[in-house]
Structures are given as structure tokens and as C-alpha cells.
Assembly symmetry: C2
Amino acid sequence: MPRIRLTVAYVGTRYQGWQVQGQGLTIQGMLEDKLARICGELVRVHGSGRTDSGVHALAQVAHFDVPESKAHIPWQKALNAMLPDDIAILDAREAEPGFHARFSVRSKRYAYTLWTEPGYTLPQRAPFVWSVRGLDFEAMDRAAAMLAGTHDFAAFQNAGTEIKGTVRTLEPVLRAPGQHPAEWVFRFQADGFLKQMVRNLMGLLVEVGRGGLRVDEVQAILEGLDRCKAPATAPAQGLALEEVFYQEEALNAS
Amino acid sequence: MPRIRLTVAYVGTRYQGWQVQGQGLTIQGMLEDKLARICGELVRVHGSGRTDSGVHALAQVAHFDVPESKAHIPWQKALNAMLPDDIAILDAREAEPGFHARFSVRSKRYAYTLWTEPGYTLPQRAPFVWSVRGLDFEAMDRAAAMLAGTHDFAAFQNAGTEIKGTVRTLEPVLRAPGQHPAEWVFRFQADGFLKQMVRNLMGLLVEVGRGGLRVDEVQAILEGLDRCKAPATAPAQGLALEEVFYQEEALNAS
């Protein structure tokens, strides 16, 4: 059966996250609903991983398998014609042999956007930012530098994960200007992320920026492996899955 | 009575435009509702002008008068605490003597954003763009150049306006890249705009870009003064009021 690889963007605001759950609107569910209408049967969609309720994506990756007879449907056009405006297929193509949207992942990059203008949040940006004020960004940068590397990130994993190992390799966390002068974007790239790991890391960085946590306390929190000792989780709406990198691309590039 | 001058941004998607109407949610109505709660009485809000249902604003200007006893309320903070996320007060200050949000207007600038990637519209941008494809932008620029200047714009005025004169002076229409590589933004600045004038001008430019109208036909449409001879109105969601310029600022600048 041909495997189709999708690149999907979405505004997560009104969804209960990526993954199909007992009830509630999800991105995966929305895609499977449209595919069932096109194919006349259940077509399971496999994402690169879950995104939480309210989290956005600029380029989530997913795949699904279809019977040979359906291989030549123009999937991007067919799906975009049926999907609501807050989900769009950016690309659809037959996957390379052996490609699996989840198992072939090499690394992912998330972007977390902070809004720093104290008097207001621009309505056009409000669904995509966390509004904070009075942060010491220099202290946050120093704390971020302590997080990069291969660590056991158990202190930044929320409950409810099925994954056993909690060691991950986090690339240097980069801070860059956002699309509005009041914005700063923090980018987190790693070979994998634990449940709510980016939001927990961002929660820690903002707590440092607010002065509620000293930079020299970060190491102990990381090493303590105890979620209860770490600062609160940052809100979902500031987070977006920006890019998923695959093994075959690493091979092609080398 | 002190007069307070507001700068207001909003996402117009779920509103029936700026102006209070018999029924339906409006920006003016939302502001007056919050002011009534703060002041305990009706406070009329005067905008620089209406925006249509679904049109956005980055910096609409409005004013209201309050009793001396209320002059020192921190209006920005008080209103933003009560307003929904899709409306925000960017600035609130006591107005200069003689300032009137509508009567003191010298000119306004609107931005109309086109999305040109044919396969999809990015969900994050969908509420703010008109998705079009295959446009000849060079032809559109030539048509735009014919619209600038002092003209009777009756051909670009929709019915239902109370204004009598239809002569306006339109500055050169400028096309610039938008915030996403798939976007082009057209900026329209004039000493005043007729009802749906920007959307009607944009509708004409897109019709030229599609090849449905030749550049050398534009002059006749402008001179014909007949709305029925001009192309259809562009959709509301691509339009945003970007800036309102006032006489006092012109005086201060000179």
C-alpha cells in the first residue's frame, strides 16, 4: 500500500491537541474524518508525535497508507478543500520507502513566543503568545545555556507519559526576535521531547527572568529529576511545532 | 469634561464591524459596554470612522468624554482587563484640546493582504488574507498607478453611505512584501474613504491581475462613476485599518 506523507499546519486554539481522544475535536481526528469521506473507510493517520491541547504547528508531519487504487488522488487539494481554515496541508507526497512519521524522527524543533509589551497584547498575536512582563532576558539566556546538552529531563516531564527513558539531547536554546517588536521567540530542538517538556523548560526560564528563581538554582532542579521542584508549566498557546527532521534527510544531507 | 483618546487594535472576524447597530457584536459596542461598567452610565465612543464587518484594525482611533471625577482612571489598564483578547487598547491619553476622533482626521491608511501560494493558506494567516492565485502583479501595479490622485471615486462606493461628495485624494498605492513570503500587501492612503472603497479598489486590482480586466480599461471604469461597471468587492478579512493621521499631527510636524 502506498504511504502518503503530509506536512500539516494548524492553529491549535480550538482543538484538544493532535491525538484522537475519547471525545473532543483533534487534528488527527479531523484528518481521519476527511480521509474516511474520501476513501470510504477508516484511514489511520500517524503523526510525528502529539501536540498538546491549544498548541500550534507550522509543519507537523504525518503519514497514512492507502490502497493502490487511491494512490493518485491529489491529497493536498482534496484535503484542503474539506478541512476548516485552521488546518492546512502544506505538502502531500508519496513517502520514501521505510518512512514512518513517528519512528523515523531524528529531531524536532519547537518555538515558544513571549509577548513583552506590558500594556497590552496585540489581538492579532494573542492566540500565539504568552504575555509576560519585566523579564531579565540576560539571566534567561544563562539559564537556557545550562539546559542544553544530554540530560535526564525527568524534572521537566509531566505525568501521563508512556515513554520509559527520560534522557534527551537538547540543542542550545536560541532566543530570536519575533515577527512583532514586542516578541521574543525561544527555539528548542532535541532528539525527542517528554510530555510538556518545552512548556516546562519555558516555565523555568520565565521564572528565572522574573527573578523567582536564580540561575545558580537551575542545575539543582535539572539534577533533582523532580517535576514538583521545578516551576509551573508555560501556557500552551505560546508554543508551536516548527519543524520535524527525519533520518533519511540526515542521510541525504551527509 | 476631559476627552480621552484611544488607540485600539482588533481582530474583526467575529464582529459586525466597528459601529453599534441594532443587533450584533461590534467593537464600538464592546467598548461602550465596558465603559458603562466602569462609569456607571452610558459613555459614547466616537471612532475615526467605521470599519466593515470582518475588517481588522491595527490602530483605530476613538475618543470619549468623561466627567472630571473619572479623568484619572488608568483607562488602558482598566479596559484591557475587561475586553476580550480580540480587542486591545494600545494607548489611552487625554486628548489635545479640540481633538475629535472623526472630524480631526487628515488621512487614513489601510493595508490589504493577498495570499498567493496556490496550494494552501497558512492557518495562522487565513483570518487576515485573501487567497488568490496566478496574478500578474506588474499589471496590477500599472492599474494601481492610474487610481492615485484626486478623483471622483463614485465607481468604488457601495450603496448605503450618508456622505454626499465622492471626490477623494488617494496617495500612490504601494505594494510591499507581507510577513510571510506568500503575501503581498497593498497600502491605500487617502484623505477619506467611501463605503467599501478599499475593498472595491482591491477587487479591481485583482481582476486586472487575473486578466479579467485590461489595464487600459481602468480609466473608463474610474471615469464612468458607476459601481455596477466595476469589478466585485474584495472580501473583508484581507483588510486592516493601519493608521489614522490627524490634523494636529500635521501642524506639529510642520
